[in-house]
């Protein structure tokens, strides 16, 4: 590619990376649904999807087709523009987060050196937080625009819950930020590179002593993604289906995909922040070869898989919170804990330096 100007190269590479990342993400989301159904089935002592394709592997495809061909109902008395905009907002924002997730350190690829990451921003973590906070509008507007009591209640619950847990979520990350001294996700991962005492991985959760922060993060993140045991905005047994009661067909699918994409982001973030991201043992490759890059991606994928497994596992295990319990858990347990965590971490870092 010698005849191309640098800016064109940059644009081409960015485009390629975006397409690949989006494709991967959407595929993952699709198979995450399959994985969830299969695993929950196992937990509940049933088979789960098994008819379409081997082990039901083609089930997501069938679901997608089903969504596309289903009748698209727009109920009367809804606020049409917002009713239509809400799922788009939700999905678009959920997919945006993937852009700053680093899958590997920079690698050489056909004369180019680039990280397997759409873009490395030095405020990457903040961007994810910002996107998460905006993502709330999808739920809120959906519930309100539907002009339905269940939806509205779901939206109200959702807004309050997400705004509250966002505080705990953000504060739980401060400990990690203090250790890494950067907002850049790539740098946060790099900071966790290597071993302590020759055998202990330098992960934040281990040598950084961020176990408490991790637990807070997991709780808050579950709440942010409206997953059991914090799925009150869409609690079937209470609110029919919460904010997306009035949605059907592809619009419903968008909410669905947004939720799973968010789960994926949370899993990525948990790995990056607490479990060393793409770090891992490298067997026999140069530090910047593409094979090493793939191996990094593999280590990263393993961790993501673990967290997704955790999601489903918890879903299959725990009952739902009551709403007042949910709120007081956030404000009275998570928030003080996270502040205490910040204090202790800051103190330790200050004393160590």
């Amino acid at each position: 590619m010698p005849n191309l100007s640098p800016i064109t190269v940059f644009l081409l590479v960015a485009l390629a990376k975006t397409v690949i990342a989006l494709g991967l993400l959407l595929t993952s989301v699709a198979y995450l649904t399959w994985f969830e159904r299969k695993l929950v089935g196992r937990i509940q002592n049933r088979w789960g999807p098994s008819r379409v394709g081997p082990f039901g592997l083609l089930q997501p495809l069938a679901d997608g087709l089903k969504f596309i061909f289903k009748e698209d109902i727009t109920p009367p008395y809804v606020n049409k523009p917002l009713y239509l905009a809400a799922p788009l907002i939700a999905l678009a924002l959920a997919l945006t987060s993937i852009a700053v997730i680093p899958f590997s350190p920079p690698v050489h690829l056909g004369g180019l050196q680039t990280a397997l990451q759409v873009t490395d921003v030095n405020i990457g973590l903040l961007i994810i937080l910002g996107i998460t906070s905006i993502g709330l509008y999808g739920i809120a507007l959906a519930g309100w625009a539907s002009n339905s009591k269940y939806s509205l209640l779901g939206a109200l619950r959702g807004s309050a819950q997400m705004v509250s847990y966002e505080v705990a979520l953000g504060l739980s990350l401060v400990g990690v930020l203090i250790l890494a001294r950067s907002f850049s996700l790539q740098e946060i991962v790099t900071a966790q590179h290597g071993l302590r005492w020759g055998w202990l991985p330098n992960w934040n959760i281990l040598t950084g002593c961020q176990l408490v922060a991790f637990l807070i993060y997991i709780c808050a993140a579950f709440a942010e993604t409206n997953r059991i045991p914090f799925d009150l905005p869409e609690a079937e047994t209470e609110l029919v289906a919460g904010y997306h009661t009035e949605y059907s067909s592809m619009k419903f699918a968008m909410f669905f995909m947004a939720e799973y994409a968010n789960m994926f982001t949370v899993a990525c973030l948990a790995s990056i922040l607490f479990f060393g991201g793409w770090t891992g043992p490298i067997f026999g490759f140069g530090p910047y070869s593409w094979q090493a890059g793939l191996l990094h991606v593999f280590w990263f994928a393993l961790r993501i898989f673990f967290f997704l497994f955790l999601y489903v596992w918890i879903r299959g295990t725990l009952p739902r919170f009551r709403y007042d319990q949910l709120m007081s858990f956030c404000w009275k347990v998570l928030l003080p804990l996270s502040i205490a965590n910040i204090l202790v971490t800051a103190l330790v870092v200050a004393l160590r330096s």
Binding site: L82, W144, L156, V163, F183
Partner: protein, 166 residues
């Protein structure tokens, strides 16, 4: 050139959002217009090299304050505001025209006077979190702590005000 382009795109978006805020009858629509304004302003901040401010603008304004507004609107189930009625004559007759005139006049004067002036350099990110922190926790430590007290008081005030009396 691209900066002019971006400036005008987001500037126009912001002004459109602001005007829409005035034009819309329903508070939800106004709120969404305001979110558009804030988003556009975040983009303008990025143009000005203030990346941290930009993202904080999104998180705090769009992600928290406006959510609060929308939450309240939904909670109170506020509808469209009725047309006309006992509106303030002073506001309509003097304040509104005066303010519009002033806004336009001011804008005109500013553009006129500063067009040839030095301009904002682009590219260098002045507002990195580290630099902001340097400022915030060294020369502005006291104001920072005072604002934290302010926030605490605001929290207590909000709780007291919004609590249902038994």
């Amino acid at each position: 050139m691209i900066h002019y382009l971006l400036f005008f795109i987001f500037g126009a978006l912001a002004v459109a959002g602001a005007v829409n805020l005035l034009a819309q009858k329903h508070p939800i629509a106004s709120a969404l217009s305001l979110i558009v304004v804030m988003g556009s302003l975040a983009a303008e901040y990025l143009l000005l090299g203030a990346e941290f401010v930009a993202i904080i603008q999104v998180i705090v304004y769009a992600g928290a304050i406006m959510v609060l507004f929308i939450f309240v609107i939904m909670l109170l189930n506020a509808g469209e505001e009725p047309r006309a009625g006992g509106s303030s004559r002073v506001a309509w007759m003097f304040g509104f025209p005066a303010m519009l005139a002033i806004g336009i006049l001011l804008a005109w004067v500013l553009v006129k006077r500063d067009a040839a002036n030095t301009s904002v350099p682009v590219g260098a990110m002045y507002g990195s979190p580290t630099l902001i922190a340097e400022q915030l926790f060294k020369p502005y430590l006291l104001p920072f702590e005072v604002t934290s007290v302010l926030v605490l008081i605001a929290i207590m005030g909000a709780v007291v005000l919004a609590r249902k009396e038994d």
